[in-house]
């Protein structure tokens, strides 16, 4: 049970940690000052979430958060490739932010009922932050998705590029059935279904 739990926490934490750093690369280079600040703040939130999760791992016998975050080798990370992809243009970062944070909000929505109490408590605590992230992503996607020919085609291009990678967010854990039967997490398959349903809206 402990291995399954650790694997799950590592996965969520590493995704947030890597994407938080990727998104923070926009600090100072955002498309406009207000958005630069908003995007940077959300990147900081992600690092905050990964810190909370690494701290949880420490309770489960892993090393301290800084050691875990900064001294592992690449092959010891559990994140999906989607979050590592270089930023490129802002349209891609925005689409990735939209796809990832929609999934993240749903994931923590599911974790609200986790049988592992620290995860349920964290899900409750960061609910408002995740809500803001999705409001932000939805507002930008809607605006640019109904903007000019350039904005629409850029979003579409980024979406076409991102979608196959985004599926990597839902890679099942080797302990998937254990996580589900123990009531720790509802499972990647269920999450992907909810996410797909949400995107269709």
């Amino acid at each position: 049970m402990s291995d399954a739990l650790k694997e799950l926490i590592y996965k969520i934490a590493d995704d947030q940690f890597i994407l938080g750093h990727r998104n923070s690369e926009w600090t100072g280079f955002g498309p406009m000052l207000e958005e630069d600040i908003a995007f940077s703040s959300m990147a900081q939130d992600k690092i905050g979430h990964s810190f909370a999760l690494y701290t949880m791992l420490r309770e489960l016998g892993e090393q301290d958060p800084d050691t875990v975050a900064f001294t592992r080798n690449a092959n010891q990370f559990h994140n999906c490739i989607f979050v590592e992809l270089p930023n490129g243009e802002y349209d891609f970062s925005l689409v990735r932010h939209f796809l990832f944070d929609t999934a993240e909000a749903l994931r923590f929505e599911m974790l609200l009922n986790s049988s592992y109490e620290p995860l349920a408590l964290l899900a409750k605590k960061i609910r408002g932050e995740l809500r803001y992230h999705t409001i932000h992503a939805n507002t930008f996607l809607k605006k640019l998705g109904s903007g000019t020919e350039e904005s629409i085609s850029r979003l579409q291009k980024s979406l076409d590029y991102s979608l196959p990678y985004a599926m990597g967010m839902f890679e099942p854990s080797p302990y998937e059935s254990e996580l589900i039967s123990e009531g720790i997490f509802g499972g990647e398959e269920k999450l992907r279904e909810q996410w797909t349903k949400k995107l269709r809206k």
């Binding site: 600040i37 908003a38 409001i135 507002t139």
Partner: protein
């Protein structure tokens, strides 16, 4: 060649033909005013302005531009040009003395929010709402309905329907703000290091 750095790719292209043309207009976005409520029981007050393409986006951007530090439980935004501004006075003259207490004779009654400025250089503070048929008459209504206890130097009024308020299901957006002390300078204690440095450089 395409650079790996998008900023380089955005540089204007080099012109080949020799011609003089008009400068392109700036694609500057409009501005929105942001009002913040720091605590339960405290009034909303004006915090500043920002650029945004519409009211919804202004709300989204205002949250991080103006409430990423300190205290906040709610905010609202309104397009700058939808804020109506009275005269400005000084010293002991209250601007309300210049407002005639005209009786609002019907017309299309709408709700207006009233903001007073009690000290020049400070922020406008929300004091309440009135019903009126124009911004001018809203200020007149405020004179009767919300008489100020202090001298007021300037009044703003905004039609309530022009405002994007924080919705009830968005109230948890600031839940974790008290935990973000790392965004305040006061969270970084440099006093000892400074003292040590000054000692050494004597």
């Amino acid at each position: 060649m395409k650079s790996l750095d998008p900023r380089v790719n955005r540089l204007p292209e080099i012109d080949i033909e020799n011609s003089v043309s008009r400068k392109d207009p700036l694609d500057q976005l409009g501005t929105y005013e942001v009002f913040v409520q720091p605590k339960e029981g405290k009034p909303f007050q004006h915090e500043g302005a920002l650029h945004a393409s519409d009211r919804e986006m202004a709300f989204v951007l205002a949250k991080e531009s103006f409430t990423r530090r300190f205290q906040c439980i709610s905010l609202f935004v309104v397009r700058t040009t939808n804020v109506f501004v009275s005269d400005t006075t000084e010293d002991s003259e209250s601007v309300y003395d210049r407002i005639k207490g005209d009786v609002d004779k019907g017309g299309n009654q709408q709700s207006y929010e009233i903001f007073n400025l009690y000290k020049r250089g400070k922020q406008h503070v929300h004091i309440g709402s009135v019903s009126a048929s124009s911004p001018e008459l809203a200020m007149a209504a405020a004179k009767n309905k919300l008489p100020p206890s202090k001298t007021v130097y300037n009044i703003w009024t905004v039609k309530t329907s022009d405002i994007r308020f924080t919705q009830p299901d968005e109230m948890d957006l600031w839940n974790t703000l008290p935990d973000k002390k790392f965004r305040d300078a006061s969270d970084y204690k440099g006093g000892d290091k400074l003292k040590e440095f000054l000692e050494r450089s004597k």
